[in-house]
């Protein structure tokens, strides 16, 4: 039995378990690769996010139960890493690098263009149509190809304000 705590947005949604069927099998296939169950925590959280789009408190509790750690421990880990979403995000998640090397080459203007064209308006916000959430992130490790952005899993280099409308149009 999983008791759900309220989510970051205040809701308490009924939780359908993530680790059943194929997802459960995928997780269990990882067990022999690590000497402890706990070591499967980051991969398990990725599976939750792939399956649900974000990681709710109830999902954290489920992960804890499956791997034998407390929900509080899981939450400590989830909130340490910036790529895990603790609230629902838009259908497409945009990450824009603005760290210094990209900052030298126009990343701020690219970020502003993305916030404007996506309809997100401000960092961390979701566009009113639910299509995009955009955030500024630290170094994406492609400094020679400013400005790199990630749209979902698509890594796009050399993004300039002029290119933004065309890039976003591909994501419905």
């Amino acid at each position: 039995m999983i008791h759900a705590a309220p989510n970051a947005d205040g809701t308490v949604a009924s939780h359908q378990p993530v680790f059943v069927g194929d997802v459960r099998a995928k997780l269990e296939a990882l067990f022999p690769k690590y000497p402890t169950r706990q070591a499967c925590l980051l991969p398990a959280l990725w599976m939750v996010q792939e399956s649900r789009g974000w990681i709710s408190e109830a999902a954290m509790a489920e992960v804890g139960e499956v791997l034998g750690v407390t929900p509080a421990f899981v939450k400590g880990v989830v909130t340490f890493y910036t790529m895990y979403h603790t609230r629902p995000v838009g259908r497409h998640f945009i990450q824009v690098c603005t760290t210094s090397p990209c900052g030298l080459c126009g990343a701020e203007e690219t970020l502003q263009a993305i916030l404007r064209e996506s309809g997100c308006g401000e960092m961390g916000a979701t566009s009113p149509d639910g299509r995009f959430t955009a955030i500024e992130v630290e170094c994406l490790g492609a400094c020679g190809f400013a400005t790199p952005i990630l749209v979902d899993d698509d890594f796009i280099e050399g993004v300039t304000p002029e290119r933004v409308p065309g890039i976003l149009a591909a994501y419905k």
């Binding site: 991969p43 910036t82 790529m83 760290t99 210094s100 090397p101 490790g141 400094c143 990630l150 890594f155």
Partner: protein, 435 residues
């Protein structure tokens, strides 16, 4: 080669030879290009001889610290009956650095081969390759390559029929610069928050899961097959300067140059050649102002220091900075140094794991003081305050993230003080809103 540009005559192309060549990504293509010969040769060598070869080559860690690789391997206990681990650090996230990404994307089997050789040398049956979460394409390419390596007998219970077991597990990060620090990475693989650990114990005694562990950078491991095949003497001969800096180095050049990219040079190459010849120099009408030669964690060099610098571990130290990870950030005369330094400190404030007070508070307050200066409300005493903070952030914490935040602040105030003074005196228009 200067990927994504053609090779420059001043480069020495070794690791980057197949960047941009999709044929090199597949197992068969890699074997056609001479791949896995190094692993076959290594598996037939006594372990002590293999470690000695790497020691003699002079190879030093390419992740930033420059520690001698063979020496690091030799710290691993021998025949102690415990599981040993090799961790490959593919968490490349030092601002200015983007070389490991190209190794992962273009020559995944070269990296797997290097990992397997290292694992054999240190008696590790399992390798964890920790790839940062944002590297989606490298992750998929490495996943495919690992599957192929298992299918071809280059990994698994009986590598190339020698009876040696080597398993390789890809582990995906989830967004945390600090996980590039080796003990933080071990915690992250164990399923914990990525907080660095106090040393000692050092990883060779008690590392991942409490077992003897060696952690090496992608570039370090990728060069190992070349050293095994061609010998320590050959590698050691690749140096134009100090015998303490051998081999080639991939340098990621970014910022205000005409051809940003990855250039591979023999140690000891003049920095001038890298910036002005290979990377194409400044944009028309611009002049060089400053260079950060080794990723954002090292001190800023003035143009004069950079133009007169030899690219190797000792040469850059002699000019007041460090080779670090080889991320060369070039800034021309249009650069606002105060704003640029603020953006670095903001990075470190965001990425501090927050377990040490000096770092948690120091990175945040340094950033806030710089914001005050940039918003036109700075005081002359702020510069001394920044230097005091920097002193308290250097050498006082579990890892060096805090020191890394202090480095550009101290060197920036030393070398570009007039720009700070101009903001404080109101001679420069504020670029940030008052907070």
């Amino acid at each position: 080669m200067g990927y994504p540009h053609p090779s420059h005559p001043k480069e020495t192309v070794l690791l980057s030879k197949y960047f941009g060549d999709p044929g090199a990504r597949a197992y068969a293509g890699w074997v056609d290009r001479g791949g896995y010969e190094g692993l076959r040769k290594a598996l037939a060598m006594p372990r002590a001889e293999l470690i000695e070869t790497v020691k003699q080559s002079g190879l030093r860690g390419r992740g930033g610290a420059g520690f001698p690789t063979g020496l690091k391997w030799s710290f691993m206990p021998k025949d102690d009956g415990k599981p040993h681990y090799l961790v490959c650090n593919a968490d490349e996230s030092e601002p200015g650095t983007f070389k490991d990404r190209e190794i992962l994307r273009w020559t995944p089997h070269g990296l797997i081969e290097g990992c397997a050789i290292a694992a054999y040398a240190i008696q590790a049956e399992r390798i964890y390759v920790y790839i940062r979460g944002e590297f989606t394409e490298p992750w998929h390419i490495m996943t495919r390559a690992v599957e192929e390596a298992y299918a071809s007998g280059a990994l698994g219970a009986n590598v190339f029929g020698t009876g040696t077991r080597i398993d390789l597990v890809l582990h995906r990060g989830a967004g945390a610069y600090i996980c590039g620090e080796e003990t933080a990475m071990m915690n992250s693989i164990e399923g914990k928050r990525g907080n660095p650990r106090i040393k000692p114990p050092f990883p060779a005694q008690s590392g991942l899961f409490g077992m003897p562990t060696t952690i090496n950078n992608v570039e370090t491991l990728a060069v190992v097959p070349h050293i095994v095949l061609r010998g320590a003497g050959w590698y050691k001969g690749l140096s134009l300067s100090s015998p303490k800096s051998t081999g080639t180095k991939l340098l990621s050049v970014c910022g205000h140059v005409q051809r940003p990219g990855n250039y591979e040079v023999t140690m000891g190459t003049p920095m001038r050649d890298l910036i002005f010849d290979m990377a194409g120099g400044m944009r028309p009408g611009r002049t060089l102002k400053a260079v950060i030669p080794g990723g954002s964690s090292v001190p800023i060099m003035s143009a004069a220091e950079a133009e007169d610098c030899v690219l190797d571990y000792e040469g850059i130290v002699a000019r007041g900075s460090m080779l670090g990870s080889g991320g060369v950030i070039v800034m021309d005369d249009s650069t606002d140094m105060v704003k640029t330094i603020w953006r670095y400190t903001k990075f470190y404030a965001h990425e501090s794991c927050a377990q040490c007070t000096q770092c948690r508070e120091g990175t945040a307050w340094t950033t806030k003081v710089l914001e005050r200066i940039l918003s036109g409300r700075g005081k002359q005493a702020d510069l001394q305050l920044l230097l005091d903070l920097a002193e308290n952030m250097t050498g006082k914490t579990i890892c060096v993230l805090s020191d890394s935040c202090a480095a550009p602040v101290v060197s920036g105030i030393q070398k570009f003080r007039e720009e700070f003074d101009a903001y404080i005196a109101g001679a420069r228009r504020p670029v940030l809103a008052a907070v």
